[in-house]
Amino acid sequence: MSNLVGGDGRTHINSPLMRESLQNKDVLSSTDSERDLQIFPDVSLVSIGGQSIFDRGKDAILPLVAELVEIKKDKAVKMVIGVGGGTRVRHTISIAADLGLPVGGMAQLVGAMEELNAILLNTLLAPHGSMPMQRDHFWDLPLYFDAGITPIAISVPPYHFWEPPPEEGHLPTHGSDFGLFQLADVLGMKQAIFVKDEDGLYDKDPKKHKGAKKFGKITLAELMTQFPEDNILDQELFHAWRTAKNLKRIVIVNGLVPGQLTRALRGEDVGTVIVKEDARG
């Protein structure tokens, strides 16, 4: 029996979605299930902040690199590292916005600034085993882990010229926090750890408010009811996390305090731990 179906002027391949409109709500929901395949469930994603760590220079970067070198000695720890771009990203966007460049144009430009921090980090970490990972060469990851090489991923997602118009304002919303979150989610990773310059997530910006209160362990649903106006992570990350199926745990630690990242990688509750509802234990 042929798999090709004609009769209405079009040639179809027999499948449950044949002839269907992919805009139809019933058709769309027929593709869903309770879970997504988890590809690398024993891997942690580590994101190192641009403004918070790299822009502070040597005094912040070198101790963190030394900690990563120690962590790497434990071969059971599997991690992918990504980095933020920091103040140069802000400078790029402020010039681009003044020129009136479209949001897709701004999105196309910013990745280069993160890449500079990735090169710095790789230069420091390479003697101990690290390599920049090409955009979506995820299928090389088992090889990296087997060889004891830590991959440094591209953190800005490839939205580029196609960055959707933002709900408010004129700036791109899919930045490096979102990009690394998405990487951890699509690959079904164990957790995403964001290394910043505060002990976690606070209800107010602790750099501006003395009485700011830190969140300890909190569910995503609880956090959404008291969402801080100034957030240490991009809004888009939280927006995407609500419909995501895989990632259950995001940890925010202080990279200026030695040992916090190590503990987070071991699965300890350190800094702020945000968990997706059904994963709170």
Binding site: D8, G9, R10, H12, I13, P16, L17, M18, L22, Q23, N24, D26, L28, S29, T31, D32, S33, R35, D36, L37, I39, Q51, D55, R56, K58, G86, T87, R88, R90, S94, D98, L99, G100, L101, P102, G105, Q108, D136, P157, Y159, H160, F161, W162, E163, P164, P165, P166, H170, L171, D185, V186, G188, E229, N231, I232, D234, A240, T243, A244, N246
Partner: protein, 266 residues
């Protein structure tokens, strides 16, 4: 501890997580005269020669009139086939979106082969920077309509089909280029109250705003829902035109700027 070394700029203190903009934004259009045109996958390309050749004739005719056209290809039944296999295997949306890149690419290459003698040139998604050259040479650039999000495509609520597919790619391309109207060539006269192939009682909607369309909450719509959602936020691309490529003259009329088919306005 070392301080953050910050470059002074209007955003230097910003967490960039909110939308508290402290500057005036005066948008600049990149290539506002370009017509960004989608050729449907299931609706046109899967029909083969009978549907494709007359449409390409009209596009070549428009190009000869000096109209600048960029063609983006849809996916169609092969995309539906791989989406359905991947869904069964519970693949994450990002994997499904990556699989979805390949078929529009094939379709774009087919169109390029047909248009080569008229200046058809295959373009990669990140090649917008070469468009001025192609268009000044009189070429007809052809590319995949699929946005390059791939593994970074977000999951939609209640479905694992990527919400940004080739309609979204066409709209977002037009928006980046500063083109005021994106054109979608399909096999229906435009938007209907339901899928006209399945419901004979469905009636045609010639003009509608995106707000009205969202409020109607139709069971089926001719374009991807994200496009209708994004339209009111657009800086440039504030109109979507859906025309019937099976009716002679409609494509050329649309390329000349005539209001044929359905027009959805921001």
């Amino acid at each position: 501890m070392a301080e953050r070394r910050t470059l002074e700029s209007t955003l230097s203190g910003s967490s960039m997580t909110g939308s508290h903009e402290s500057f005036e934004y005066k948008p600049t259009a990149v290539m506002p005269d370009v017509k960004v045109v989608k050729i449907g996958g299931q609706s046109i390309l899967d029909r083969g020669r009978a549907a494709v050749f007359p449409i390409l004739d009209e596009i070549v005719a428009a190009r000869k009139l000096g109209i600048q056209v960029v063609l983006l290809a849809g996916g169609g039944t092969r995309a539906r086939h791989i989406y359905s296999l991947a869904s069964e295997l519970e693949m994450p949306t990002g994997v499904v979106a990556t699989l979805g890149k390949y078929i529009p690419m094939q379709n774009a290459r087919m169109i390029q082969m047909l248009l080569a003698k008229h200046g058809g040139i295959y373009m990669l998604p990140d090649d917008f920077e070469k468009l001025p050259l192609y268009l000044q040479m009189g070429c007809i650039p052809v590319m995949s309509g699929m946005p390059p999000f791939g593994y970074w495509e977000k999951r939609a609520e209640g479905s694992r089909i990527p919400p940004h597919r080739t309609d979204a790619g066409v709209f977002l391309s037009a928006e980046f280029l500063g083109s005021p109207r994106a054109i979608f060539i399909k096999d229906e006269d435009g938007l209907y109250t339901d899928d006209p192939k399945k419901n004979p009682a469905a009636t045609h909607i010639a003009r509608i705003t995106s707000k009205e369309l969202i409020e109607r909450n139709l069971p089926d719509v001719v374009l991807e829902r994200v496009v209708v959602e994004y339209l009111p936020r657009a800086q440039w691309c504030k109109e979507l035109q859906v025309v019937n490529g099976l009716k002679p003259g409609q494509v050329l009329a649309a390329l000349k700027g005539e209001d044929v088919g359905t027009i959805i306005r921001a």
